[in-house]
């Protein structure tokens, strides 16, 4: 179904002829499935047209046209996942041209960006100024804007929190085409606060998961940034993909630990959190600890086997980044005491400056997610519970893993060693867990396995009272959780209906107003 000519021309008048297309080749490039929970269907439905707005005014004009002409729209930044159309009658706003860093306020420690600034760009600029930002665990290639880059949970969350908490003032083009400026932006034209003075709609615009393209378009946002004690340019050398650190910068340390029991690991991590000595802290399988530094899946497989022999116990990774030599000594001493108390041991590879330096950089920049998740087959799924305390995360992963074993036994998922991780948030305040699945999406049996296990994992989250994950999207999954969690879906639908009276903002990945 092509757009009617008057609609196309109206859109073209907004963005100019160079910045709109309905050519098949352009549409099909956006219709290629993303790898997240990919199935045997290789292509999603085509958008009717792709637009490339350059600023908020053009976004608003497009949204208003959609409301006027009764068509739907969906916006995305780098366009990795959650941004596909569900059927005909939908146009895309590719926000690629909105790629400016608008402000870095060193004194008040915030940064303002447009949606197509990637996290690595912002992080690199911040580090020149002694600052750092949280980076989405999916990678530094994702948008730097917290509300655009999904939940924003990642390895840096131990000291750098996550999207919901880092979000400050925000500019939002609502589904019906109003421009709303939230927080201090709404009253003082300043970016420093998300909740006032001025209107605070933080809960409205975010929900639990962020709207994933289903509630208008977020065009500019400020976020809290953090102190960076490291160098302006990390000392990385070598040619791709063998990036090697020439040294570990002063005050930095990597520790890869294994602990005698799960109970002791939880205890150690809790104490590390309480003492606030960690810059990054993750429970990880050793095989995935350095997979971002290895060249291929074959190397990872060998490494996995070797590591499994080395450490027959729960393992976690800690990065320390100290502000001074005294601070460094203090943090190391605290760590030593915790390890003595919990029987933890550090793997020798963490002491090799080249390995440790490269690893530290890889995890600060978040470069390993793609290789870790997609390199095997191009498809993966991440099974998650609601963000909660560490014990709950461990419990969920253990339960979900048992079910996953059955799928692997039936050859419905790949026997990849059952990679999981738990990222600590705000010095142990909360944690985020994922159990990764990998499978061949073109194999109908495995594609079915990927989808079925995803639903099984959701059911485990519901039956085990593990909370509502950040990975909930679509009516069907929301409706799985809603009845068990205070019927939050009624609120979400009410929000959707109120702010999007014409259902213009396509909401497949969010929630529709339909009960």
């Amino acid at each position: 179904m092509a757009l009617k000519r008057d609609i196309y021309r109206a859109l073209e008048d907004v963005v100019g002829p160079e910045n709109i297309s309905e050519d098949s080749v352009i549409l099909d490039s956006y219709a290629w499935r993303s790898g997240l929970l990919a199935g045997t269907e290789k292509f999603v439905p085509r958008f009717e047209a792709i637009t490339l707005p350059k600023d908020t005014a053009e976004v608003q004009a497009i949204v208003r046209l959609c409301n006027r002409f009764g068509i739907q729209f969906k916006a995305s930044s780098t366009g990795w996942s959650y941004c596909d159309p569900s059927g005909p009658g939908i146009i895309k706003l590719d926000l690629r041209r909105m790629d400016r860093i608008l402000e870095i306020n060193e004194k008040s420690m915030y940064a303002v960006v447009e949606p197509y600034v990637i996290a690595t760009q912002l992080q690199a600029e911040l580090m020149k100024r002694g600052l750092n930002c949280n980076v989405n665990g999916a990678g530094g290639n994702c948008s730097a804007m917290p509300i655009v880059g999904h939940a924003g949970l990642g390895p840096l969350s131990e000291s750098g929190s996550y999207g919901e908490r880092n979000q400050l003032a925000l500019e939002w083009v609502t589904p019906d085409g109003e421009i709303v400026r939230l927080g201090s932006l709404g009253s003082l034209n300043k970016w420093f606060c998300g909740d006032g003075p001025g209107p605070s709609l933080r809960g409205i615009v975010r929900g639990n998961t962020v709207p994933l393209g289903g509630l208008g378009v977020f065009t500019k946002a400020a976020q809290k940034v953090y102190h960076w004690p490291g160098p302006p340019l990390f000392p990385i050398e070598g040619v791709s993909p063998d990036f090697i650190s020439s040294e570990i910068p002063p005050g930095f340390m990597l520790g890869n630990f294994y602990v005698t029991s799960t109970e002791n690991m939880i205890k150690a991590i809790r104490k590390i959190g309480e003492s606030e000595i960690g810059f990054e802290l993750m429970i990880m399988n050793f095989a995935s600890i350095d997979e971002s530094l290895l060249r291929s899946d074959a190397e990872i497989a060998d490494e996995f086997e070797q590591m499994s022999r080395t450490a027959q116990a729960p393992t976690f990774m800690l990065i320390i980044a100290a502000n001074s030599p005294n601070d460094f000594e203090y943090k190391k001493k605290v760590l030593q005491l915790i390890m003595e108390e919990t029987g933890g041991k550090m793997l020798p590879m963490a002491e090799d400056p080249k390995f440790a330096g490269s690893f530290i950089w890889s995890f600060i920049r978040c470069t390993g997610a793609n290789s870790g998740c997609f390199r095997a087959t191009g498809a993966f799924g991440g099974m998650v519970p609601g963000t909660d305390i560490l014990d709950v995360m461990v419990n969920y992963v253990q339960r979900a893993a048992k079910t996953m074993e059955e799928f692997i036994r039936k050859d419905m998922l790949l026997a990849d060693g059952m990679i999981s991780f738990i990222q600590m948030i705000e010095h142990g305040h909360q944690a985020h867990a994922e159990l990764l699945t990998r499978y061949f999406p073109n194999d109908p049996k495995q594609a079915r396995g990927g989808a079925e296990f995803n639903m099984e994992a959701n059911k485990i989250a519901v039956s085990g009272r593990f909370g509502v994950p950040h990975h909930v999207w679509s009516d069907s999954v929301h409706d799985l959780y809603g009845p068990h969690t205070s019927h939050y879906t009624k609120w979400l639908r009410s929000i959707k209906k109120t702010f999007d009276p014409n259902a213009a903002s396509e909401a497949t990945n969010y929630i529709t107003a339909d009960e």
Binding site: I26, W32, R438
Partner: protein
């Protein structure tokens, strides 16, 4: 190989967009984050490596016909390989090979664009990608005493290349190279009027059969001469002779060196001594075909084998690791008085000059836009000159400078070295 052979590679694309940026580990700031000229200029996802993977599958699934727009997207790409390298920092999949096969498929099925057909006609009739008169190919050497390897035995062949031979402004590079080789006491010869195009650019434009014809013709000539080493100052030629000829099994053990590799070797052996000061602040532009695309071809038995975790281990991939990066830099560093500064995008994640893949013929405006981006980056270093190692890069930069009025100078490494020796 055919596009179908890269189906599984293309289907691996998860749409992460890493192909659009320099490797994240090496990104140094907000500026110069982009690595792909095509997506940077034309913005729609289809113009990126990932977008090309998506519509490549669509081509195989027959979802797309050969509309003008399809050809326009396919040919607005310099085939520089930057997307391929960035992708392979994370993934095990061939990007550039698949993109090249799309072009080969287009040509094979009779869907070409007129501007490139004109260039190929020149190749077929005159043996050059630069429309000119075949008889003028050896004119650059007039007045020099240089052997003709087609008639006299030499150990080394110097292949000047199409761009250098047919552009009077480039003759100086070839003449200087010849003078340096003579100064170092190298017994070398040239093809002169018998020299012919390497065919590499034709291959990257999709004209595989024309490339193979050139490759076989050239190798017959080289082998008859008995020479052991082929030296060229053209990065396109270097990539073709060293990598593509090997890929198609016609290289037959010929050692291929770029002039910068050979001169670097001669300097380190003490056969050339740069002693005169050249007071200048310069930066170096890595030609794509010498750098990331200049690494050896890796032959692969074309089967994936299961490894322990049940994941298929693919072939070892060319990831740009073994491209030619240091020899030209070492030559530059050997010149007394030169102040050498690096740009943000270098080596395997360099930004293309704009000329590659036929873009200089099919869309000169896009070539110029791409070159201007690089010139701006060079200017930001405070350099007075861009030094490069490819006549195509040099020509594209010079054309862009004529248009935008930049004061920056462009040199080949050879020209600077000659000032010091």
């Amino acid at each position: 190989m055919a596009l179908e052979d890269y189906r599984s590679d293309m289907e691996m694309c998860s749409r992460c967009s890493i192909c659009k940026f320099v490797p994240l580990e090496r990104l140094k700031g907000y500026q110069h984050a982009n690595v792909c000229p095509s997506i940077s200029r034309y913005k729609f996802h289809a113009y990126s490596g990932g977008g090309r993977m998506g519509f490549g599958v669509a081509m195989l699934e027959k979802r797309l016909d050969y509309a003008d727009k399809l050809l326009e997207v396919i040919y607005n790409c310099q085939m520089c390989g930057a997307c391929d390298i960035s992708c392979k920092t994370a993934m095990d999949m061939e990007v550039l090979e698949a993109i090249n096969e799309m072009r080969i498929k287009c040509v094979k099925e009779g869907h070409t664009i007129p501007a490139l057909d004109g260039v190929i006609n020149s190749l077929r009739k005159q043996g050059t990608m630069v429309p000119g008169v075949k008889a003028g190919r050896g004119k650059w050497v007039e007045g020099l005493e240089v052997k003709d390897f087609t008639r006299q035995k030499t150990k080394v062949i110097y292949h000047a290349g199409c761009r250098t031979s047919y552009d009077r402004d480039m003759w100086g590079i070839a003449r200087t190279t010849a003078a340096l080789l003579q100064k170092a006491g190298i017994d070398f010869g040239i093809g002169g009027e018998n020299e012919s195009c390497c065919g590499g650019r034709a291959y990257q434009m999709g004209y595989k059969e024309d490339f193979l014809r050139q490759a076989k013709r050239n190798m017959a000539l080289f082998q008859k001469s008995g020479a052991e080493i082929l030296v060229t100052g053209c990065a396109d030629g270097y990539h073709a002779f060293k990598t593509l000829y090997d890929k198609y099994g016609v290289k037959n053990g010929l050692e291929v060196l770029h002039t910068t590799e050979y001169l670097d070797r001669l300097i380190k052996e003490g056969r050339l001594k740069p002693t005169r000061k050249v007071a200048m602040r310069v930066t170096y532009h890595d030609p794509c075909h010498l750098g990331r695309l200049g690494e050896p071809y890796l032959h692969w038995p074309q089967e994936q084998v299961p490894v322990k975790t049940n994941i298929l281990a693919p072939k070892e991939l060319r990831r740009g690791t073994y491209g030619i990066y240091e020899p030209p830099r070492d030559v530059i560093r050997s010149i007394p008085g030169l102040k050498f500064v690096e740009m943000d995008r270098i080596k395997e994640y360099t930004w293309c000059c704009g000329s590659g893949g036929g873009v200089n013929d099919s869309n000169p405006g896009f070539a110029r836009w791409t070159a201007e981006e690089r010139i701006n980056e060079a200017e930001s270093t405070g350099a007075e000159a861009i030094v490069t190692a490819c006549p195509w890069c040099e020509k594209t930069f010079k054309d862009a400078i004529k248009e935008n009025g930049s004061k920056i100078k462009i040199y080949d490494v050879v020209e600077l070295l000659a000032k010091a020796v």
